[in-house]
Assembly symmetry: none
Homo-oligomer: 223 residues x 2
């Protein structure tokens, strides 16, 4: 399956040229001229990589927005406007994975895209199947042995996170950061409350055990 690249570049000419080249190299390419368009496509098309020109867009992608559901962790490469190292540092500090200055060599950009995809491959499976549990990201549905389980938005995010690496123990800090996007918030019972509710909802059979607490650390998903 070809990887999808979202090219968020205001300049028509650059966008088209880049799109053609990337298509020639086997990528699915989505173009976006404006920020709103880019966010829209990030949500609906779930690209494997985003190339973008505006740092502001990078921040918005990383911070997320209530009600919107793009992958806040999506790999990002910034097409900087200059060749100034200071601008490259700024891009990286704002959450970009990589950055190339202009003018850039297409071959290098391509190599960097490939390297980033290689690094992140498999981290955002569309459908996670782990034992009796099936988590379908695109449709946001969850099944336990073919029994549908209805989860709210946050509940789904939590389950998807835990199921993305079954058996891995996620610390409460990691879960709060990745699911809630908190900066530091430590002393509420929100996470525990959701974990409890999700656990109950996933218990279809009496002895199902999916969401398991790891004392003093966090939670993990079994099977």
């Amino acid at each position: 399956m070809p990887s999808a690249v979202l090219v968020a570049e205001p300049q028509l000419e650059t966008r088209e040229l880049l799109g053609r080249q990337l298509r020639d190299d086997g990528f699915d390419v989505l173009g976006a001229a404006r920020r709103s368009e880019a966010l829209e496509l990030a949500e609906s098309a779930r690209p494997d990589v985003v190339l973008l020109a505006e740092l502001e867009l990078c921040l918005r992608l990383r911070e997320g927005e209530p009600g919107r559901n793009w992958d806040r962790n999506v790999p990002v490469i910034v097409l900087a406007s200059t060749s100034d190292p200071v601008e490259r540092v700024r891009a990286l500090d704002r959450g970009a994975d990589d950055v190339v200055g202009r003018p850039f060599a297409y071959d290098e950009l391509l190599a960097r895209i490939r390297a980033l995809i290689r690094r992140t491959a498999g981290s955002s499976e569309d459908v996670i199947v782990s034992g009796d549990l099936v988590v379908d990201r695109p449709t946001r549905r969850v099944h336990v042995r073919d029994t549908p389980v209805f989860l709210s938005a946050k509940e789904f995010e939590l389950v998807a996170k835990l199921a993305s690496q079954p058996h891995r123990v996620w610390t409460k800090e990691e879960l709060l950061r990745d699911v809630w996007g908190f900066r530091a918030l430590g002393r509420t019972r929100t996470l525990e409350s959701h974990a409890s509710r999700v656990r109950k909802k996933l218990c279809v059979a009496p002895d199902d055990r999916f969401v398991v607490n790891v004392w003093g650390v966090g939670y993990r998903m079994l099977e």
Copy 2:
């Protein structure tokens, strides 16, 4: 916990300078002048990032070697010898995650290191295998010859610390500081008590000896 950076750079001066700067910025730094040293350290110290100058080393890291156990997926940044884009592409195509040309701005290298650690945090196969003992950090599971051993949070931290360098003797001060975060607290029996309990739990076969006391100093993992 600070991230560990392995600097594999033949030139003494560059290696030392880079090491000092990175240490100032809060990293644990390991230096290696030769390829064999670098591979050795990649296996024993399990760095979070490797900076290297020779593409050959990058290939060796990625390919692995029978009997050796470094993480073939370890994040790699290449310090290219020139500023030639062709060399950058070559590095990326050989498995590097990122590459900076020379001369490079330290600030940019630092930003790239941070970006790469951010991206790979938690995904690196952080599994310590030493003899009959397997310590899996992501899942927080411990096995002795395929027999699972169930440890509490503090117990696991202690085992992971000891196993991170199996033959090294850790002083009680080091263990208290790194596992418990104490400043100096000298007169409790907490550490000894945990060591005792962990030792018993790890003794699957009658003559297993994993947590070994070193009289008047501290503990180590193996004999």
